[in-house]
Assembly symmetry: C2
Homo-oligomer: 322 residues x 2
């Protein structure tokens, strides 16, 4: 199966479960909790849980499907709470939960999704209790780190001197650890040994960091027509993206571009400056190294279609253009 077909199949299954969840109970809170869940999304974390399980034991992804949902529910919980904190009113083309209802309901909606995630992990079939405890530990640890990462991200907004080390630490927590948990949980529940679980956990961690670096690159390069977002918003807002940090470290002054309205020409100038100075290549190189190291680490796994798909997925994380 091709990666894009696989991802579509997983997304369709998760969409269906989200849809059922939204209809299961007639309470305001459940409606609010399912609002963002049923708004689509790439469902990459569930796909990684399932592929990871399948790479350990053929057929395991059926058994541990509830764990895939646990990861998507967790991701959604963080988005619902992040939207409150960031005051964002739109997400996936729909008004955010705190806008449709109110902040109190949005806080609780996130909290319910959070609880559901742990309930789902315990419901996995054909997995040992030992592996479930490992899964719970990984998810809880990730949530803990995610909160730290979000806190750091918010604190970066009022700074213009964030170091590369600080950036990578924040991204590891905010994006890396949940991908790490996705891969690690899939491996653990499918009965992987310590080496296999560790290799997949590390792959999730590193590909998650690479994913965020690629996001920063896309923000600058992708025209609005392609991405559906404002082009170069990080640059306009002087956000401490990997590009901003590498540029500063290289003595490149981007301050002329820190203004709300940038013309197409100005954006092209900035891109050209970051290309010729090697900043963009440096960022691309960082992401590539993370992906290549992750893939190399999978040598502890037997060859399988699932393993191939995981490696393709890692490549896709940095190949995507929007």
């Amino acid at each position: 199966m091709k990666l894009d077909e696989y991802l579509k199949t997983v997304a369709a299954k998760v969409d269906m479960e989200a849809d059922e969840y939204s209809k299961a109970v007639d309470s305001t809170l459940q409606k609010a909790a399912s609002h963002l869940l049923v708004s689509g999304g790439k469902r990459l974390r569930p796909a990684l849980v399932l592929l990871s399980a399948e790479s350990i034991r053929s057929g395991a992804s059926e058994d541990i499907f509830q764990a895939a949902l646990a990861l998507e529910w967790t991701h959604t919980f963080t988005l619902v709470h992040d939207d409150i904190m960031d005051g964002d009113s739109l997400r996936r083309g729909r008004p955010t939960v705190h806008v449709v209802w109110n902040e109190a309901t949005a806080i609780l909606a996130g909290d319910v999704l959070y609880a559901n995630a742990f309930e789902y992990l315990c419901r996995v079939k054909n997995a040992t209790s030992e592996s479930k405890v490992i899964a719970v530990q990984m998810l809880a640890h990730s949530c803990h780190e995610l909160c730290e990462g979000q806190q750091e991200d918010v604190s970066f907004e009022t700074r213009s001197d964030v170091t590369l080390e600080e950036y990578l630490s924040m991204v590891r927590k905010k994006t890396g650890v949940l991908y790490a948990a996705a891969a690690g949980i899939g491996a653990a529940l499918a009965g992987g040994d310590v080496k296999q679980i560790s290799a997949l956990y590390t792959l999730g961690l590193n590909t998650g960091i690479a994913f965020q670096i690629q996001d920063d690159i896309i923000d600058l390069l992708a025209p609005s027509e392609v991405s559906g977002k404002d082009q170069a918003s990080d640059l306009r807002e002087n956000k401490q993206s990997v590009l901003a940090i590498l540029a500063r470290d290289g003595g490149i002054d981007l301050s002329a571009y820190h203004k709300p309205d940038l013309s197409k020409e100005e954006i092209a100038d900035a891109i050209s400056l970051l290309e010729t100075s090697g900043v963009l290549d440096k960022a691309r190189g960082m992401a590539e190294k993370l992906i290549n190291d992750s893939k190399a680490g999978l040598s502890v796994l037997p060859d399988s279609e699932a393993k191939t798909l995981i490696m393709e997925m890692a490549d896709f994380f940095i190949a995507r253009r929007y």
Copy 2:
């Protein structure tokens, strides 16, 4: 050991752990997360976890101490989030987390405590993985119900026709299920059988509901000098307390008392009205029945000092005057 001595010992241990937690990591988020934890509190849920474990197996409370912390951390998480939702600026005599820092930090602080709770459950010593999975399920289920309960409580604020059934359902979720989880988790981790776990879970559930009924009674009866809170605040605000609901059901009109300023005489009048009409006795009777049924259910446990202390604790829940 006497109950009050036991509770003091547990509270001192939990206080010490909270203190260590607050010093463990130097991050804004950890400081915010520990702010309310180190502000004291009765630590009744940890005590119930430990007594419950001890009633199953002598010495078990030492092994599963981390589970006691998990329950206190969970309780604290709900308070931090509730304070944001209710816009409360003081708790245990200190400014609330969102007041000291800001809402974003308070949301994250609650989320971190929530994650910690699940991490702590997995760290318990000398317990089977099976029992840890049961403990995680109970905690996650409680958190889910707690959110529903809080949502219902908030929705009651704009209503004056809440039924006794709706009230009891809300109180079961908002207060009962976490006490139920405390007792059930202690029993499960200590190796209790299904009957024992179930009896202790039910005891926690019912005593939690009785606790809230007693809280409603205290709100009316306890003079500010004793409770440190405004006397009869529920009555002033026409809150749908058990007394308000039983009074309405009995055709008793309390509307003259729904005003911000009530004199001592007016409060005394209202108390007298609710005493002579039997409303207060009815509420007391409900709480007593819940406690007595719970205690009777403990016949599946062997006699022990811990079992006696649990029964005394249940009695204390409705004997307390503030």
